[in-house]
Structures are given as C-alpha cells and as structure tokens.
Symmetry: C2
DNA sequence: GATATTAATGAAAACCATTTCATAAATATA
DNA sequence: TATATTTATGAAATGGTTTTCATTAATATC
C-alpha cells in the first residue's frame, strides 16, 4: 500500500479512501491511485483490514450431515448466493455434536464472521443463546425457531404435512401410518405432526399418536419403522414418511411383506431429492427447493447484517406435492 | 491480552509465549498466565495473529458441483479431517467457471489460506499455474495431474476401468458400450479410457472409439447416450457408465426400448453413491469412498504444509467392484 | 568465589490497513 | 475583498498479535 501511495504521489489515507470508494477524493487523484494499484497489482491485506474494521465478509455455516442430498443442495444455494453478495463461506459440519458446534462457533467468532447460518432441525438452545449473546446476525435455514427475533427460512412444515394427509383422506384412506424424524429433530417433526393433526381434525377424524413411529431419516430407519408400523396396524393403506430415504425403505419393507406399492399401500415422502425420481417405483413427495432455501437464507442474513428494513424474519419457501408412482 | 498480562503480572511477550506453547517460560509463570486467560475468558484475535504470522489455519476448497452425492461425501471427508487437524474450511464452488475459480483463488490468497484442495476432474491449467506460482500448498482431490510436484489423491482410474471391462470379457461379452464423462472432464475420463483399452489389448480384442459416447454425468445424459449407443450398435450386451446417475439413465433407456437389465444388457456404473443401492434394479458399480478421498487429501495437504517427509504425493484410494442387480 | 552458560523475561518493532483529527485548498457567501 | 463553508488531503493513532534483541536471573564450570 505504501508503494501504491508513493507511486501515485499521495498518502496512505488517500489510497485507502479510493479503495473503499469514499466520496471525498477528487476523481483525478482517484484515477491516479487506481492506476498505481493495477500497475503494482496491489491487493489489500485482508487480516489487516479485518483487524481494523472487525468485518470479514465471511459467513459461517454450521450444520449437520451436509452430505445428505437435500442439505447438499441447500449448501449449494448458500454458497452461490453468498458469492453473489460478496461473502465467502466458512463451513462447519458438527455432526450434530454439541461440543463441535461450540468449537465451530468459537472459531467463527474469532474469524470475525459477519453472520451465521445454522442449518439444522435440531438446535441446541445453549448454542442459540451463545449466538444471540454474541450479537452475531443469525439465520436458521430449514428449521423454525419460535423466537420473534430469530430469523428463519424454511418450508411451511405444518401446511405441507396437512396437504399430504388431506390428500390421503380425500382419496378415501382411513388408516394412515407416519414415519417421523428422530426425537432430536424436534422442531420440524413436531410442526409436521401438527399439520397431520390439523388434517385429522378438519376431516373430523380422531388422531392417535400410535400411528406415528420414530425414524432416523435413513433407508434402514424407514424399513424397520414400516415393519413395526404394519405389525401394529396391518390394515394401513397409506404411509407418510418425513423424508425420501425413509420412504424408499418403507416401500422395500412393504414389498418384502408381499404387498404392492401403490396398489395396497400408497407412500408419500418429503424433500424431493433426485433419488425420489429415479427409484422404482418413483416416489411421490413434498417437493421443496434446497437451493432456494439456501439462497433466501443468505439474502435475509445480508439484510440483517446491513440493518436493512426487514418485512418479516420468518420466510416460508414454497412446497408442492408431486405425484409419482408410489401413489395411484 | 494486555489485561491478561496485567492480571498475571507479566509482559505481553510472556503471555504470547504461553499461548503458543513456547518452551522457554517457567512453568510457574505459565500457570499464572493460563489462570488469568481462563479467568478473563480471553481469546486471541485471529486477524491480528494472521497479520503477524501469515498463517490462518484455513484450508481453501475449490470445486464444481459439490451438491453431487459423491462430491458431497468427499467434502464431508475433507471437513471432518480438517477439523481433526485444526483447520477450518473456506468453501468455493466455482460451477466450473474459469472466472469464478480465479475470483475464489484471489479471495483465498487474501485470506492467507495455509493450503488449497482442488476438487475437480477438469482443471484450468491457468489456475494450476497461478496456484503453483503463489507457492500455496496444493492437493488435487479426485483428479490426477500429470506433474511430479503436484499432489493428487484419487482412485486408480486406469485400474478401475480395466477391472470393469475385464469382468465383462470374462463373462463372455463381446460388444460393449461406454458412456464416458464430458470432454471437460478430460483427465479422469481419459484415464478410464486407457484402462478400457488396456483390457481390450490384454484380451486380444480390437478397441474402437466408436463404442464410447460422451455423457454429462446426469441421468438425462445417460439416457440419451444409451439411445445413441444402441442405435449405432444394437447388439451391445454390456454398458460401462462413468458414473452412477448415467447408469440409471442407461437402464431406463434400455427398458424403454423393450430390453431387460441385466438379462439383455448388463450395466456397471461408477462411484457407488447411495442411489446405486436403492434404485431398481440396483446398480453394480465401482465403489470408491468419497469420505476417504477427502480425509486423505487433508492429511496429505497437512504434511505438505508442515514440510513433513512425504513418501509419495500421488495417492490412490482403494476401489472395489460391487455386484448388484444390474449385472447377472 | 569468580566466570561462563543457560534460562526466563521484557521492551519495542513489525505486520498493514482504517479512521479521526487537523490542515490546506477551493469555493461560496456576505 | 474578507469571511464562512465545503472539499480534498495528510499525519498519526489504532487495532492485537508475534518475534527479535537486550537484559536480568539462575545455574553450571573451573
């Protein structure tokens, strides 16, 4: 920077002003400085800038199980939009471990991230408290936090689950089975269960918790869950699985018991990952765009960071039921 | 830090020494300093440290299409191992755009990354040159660069492709079809073609480029490619696809033409992404661990950064042919 | 006991930008 | 023309570490 100043015949302050597009520098001087900058191929020293300004153009992303197809596309959306807005992504996959989340949070604080995106259905309240206390702008992606000053971007889980069950009832099904997420995934699963119950009450049916079984979002979880479900209630004719992998597991379990999908039992999944389309039978599912979710999260975060006026800090991205071979 | 020094009754230098585990500080003083550190809950200012030392504990990752299941698991491996070694991951998905790669490289340079992992079959030679010139330690993950001082971690593409074709020949197949990667994916695809040709010559058969068709690693690409392939050579009895998605597309195309997999045509894919197991028929494929690939890449990079002695800077991770329903 | 080594600490320079405050130059106002 | 205001610039302080060099304290050697 000193060299640039010397070459342009100005002071360090002026160079800095030009670089930061300050308005109070004569256009002619600015031009001279810019010329020197490009001639010397000067690049600002980021750490020095961060040290002075306490802003890094870095956005921290903490999540768990990012290799899951839906989250991977979410990450892609985050990444692309972040780039667009001039941020870089500092990535931390915690595997859902509390200690890891804490470690990442600390690292990110030290790196002076401008904001943080937490991708997670399951959120340790302790972590949330730490982030709030630190004053770092935060957005929850694909998870709803019932706290008026925490921003969230997510699909409307209540409405989506309602749509699925409503659809089943409209088609004349009476006995349903639900494969929910693990208990650690409290929020999203609870929301969806709320949607399920809503549909039950709208259709004047009585809901019992016995129709739901806990899954772990894996193929195997769906397989085993369905076995148990059908053991307890053999006359189930429709299954709603809270993600697509478990739906595949459910279908295989049904087939293994000698029944047919969709003729004997219809199945609807959630997420619409690519798998859902290629598997046989292909899976009807609640489609939501991970990419969109990621992109919107960054936009919202960007607005929070810049203290722009925000209409609403709870954003619901659209969802849509897509019908494939696992339903009639 | 000043406060810590005052509380412990020592100078800044001593605090710094304790923090950096310098040996030349009396154990008793060190204890006093540590106590003060924890009492004040002091954390070093990262940017100041980077400014002074030019090392950031940051590893840059540049890749394209990271939402692809195989690459997502690779990323997971990178991330987990990086965390283990005390690094954080600065992520950049370039979408394969030259300009984007350049931008990311610049940002990463400014952030003073300690090393860089490039995930890519297609590498712009210009980018490679820039990285080499900048002296940043570099590792190519899942891509082979024919340059003795560039470190690579990858599956042995030649051997893997050889195994597949050898298997087909052993089973008595005569007419094969190959769905290769796009031309942008020069290196990996070329290596695999080399493996194919090797198998041909070992089995005393004559290889013709007509049996291969270019794909784009998507389901659709596999579908269309297979149509063309079967149009040109209707009596093909075995297809080797360079990834699993295209293999699924191939199978659907074959079925659409009224033929059966594996009875009429056998199909083998590459990567062994979760999809391969759940799709119907499930896909026989060359299994390689993305996670392992990522983890080994970080270890190698770590060794390069620390100038440890390196046995070999070309690491081949194991692969294995797994047989499922798409082969007899 | 005197001298040579080694161990432990502190002072101050260096890393490189941003920003406040002061000042000089240019323009507007009376 | 003299004064007030605005615009453009520079000097110097600041952010928080690490590290070199100098110095003192402690130990070893003769």
């Amino acid at each position: 920077m000193k060299d640039v100043a010397k070459l342009a015949g100005v002071s360090l302050s002026t160079v800095s002003r030009v670089l930061n597009k300050s308005s109070l520098v004569k256009e002619e001087t600015a031009r001279r400085v810019r010329k020197a900058v490009s001639k010397l191929d000067y690049q600002v020293n980021d750490s020095a800038r961060i040290l002075r300004t306490n802003t890094s153009n870095l956005i921290g992303v903490i999540g768990a199980g990012m290799e899951h197809p839906f989250l991977a596309s979410l990450l892609k959306g985050l990444e692309t939009e972040a780039r667009e807005q001039g941020y870089s992504i500092l990535l931390g996959d915690s595997d859902g471990e509390y200690e890891q989340e804490k470690i990442y949070l600390n690292i990110m604080k030290q790196k002076k991230i401008d904001g943080i995106v937490i991708i997670s259905a399951n959120v340790y309240t302790d972590i949330l408290r730490m982030v709030k206390e630190s004053g770092i702008p935060i957005v929850f992606a694909s998870g709803y936090i019932n706290d008026r000053d925490v921003a969230c971007v997510t699909v409307d889980n209540v409405a989506a689950a309602y749509d699925v069950v409503d659809h089943f009832f409209q088609k004349g099904h009476e006995k349903l089975g639900i494969i929910r997420g693990p208990n650690s995934d409290l929020v999203a699963s609870e929301e969806r269960i709320r949607g399920v119950r809503l549909a039950y009450s709208v259709h004047n049916k009585i809901y019992s918790n016995k129709i739901q079984i806990e899954g772990d979002f894996t193929f195997e979880g769906g397989y085993v869950g369905t076995q148990k479900l059908l053991e307890a209630t053999p006359d189930i004719t429709a299954i709603f699985s809270f993600n697509d992998e478990m739906a595949v597991g459910a279908i295989r379990a049904i087939e293994a018991m000698g029944k047919k999908v969709p003729d004997d039992i219809e199945v609807i999944g959630f997420d619409d990952i690519p798998l859902a389309e290629y598997v046989k039978p292909s899976i009807s599912t609640v489609s939501q765009s991970g990419y969109e979710l990621g992109a919107q999260s960054i936009q919202l975060l960007h607005n929070i960071i810049n203290k722009n006026h925000i209409e609403d800090n709870k954003i619901f991205i659209p969802h849509k039921l897509v019908y494939r071979e696992s339903t009639i």
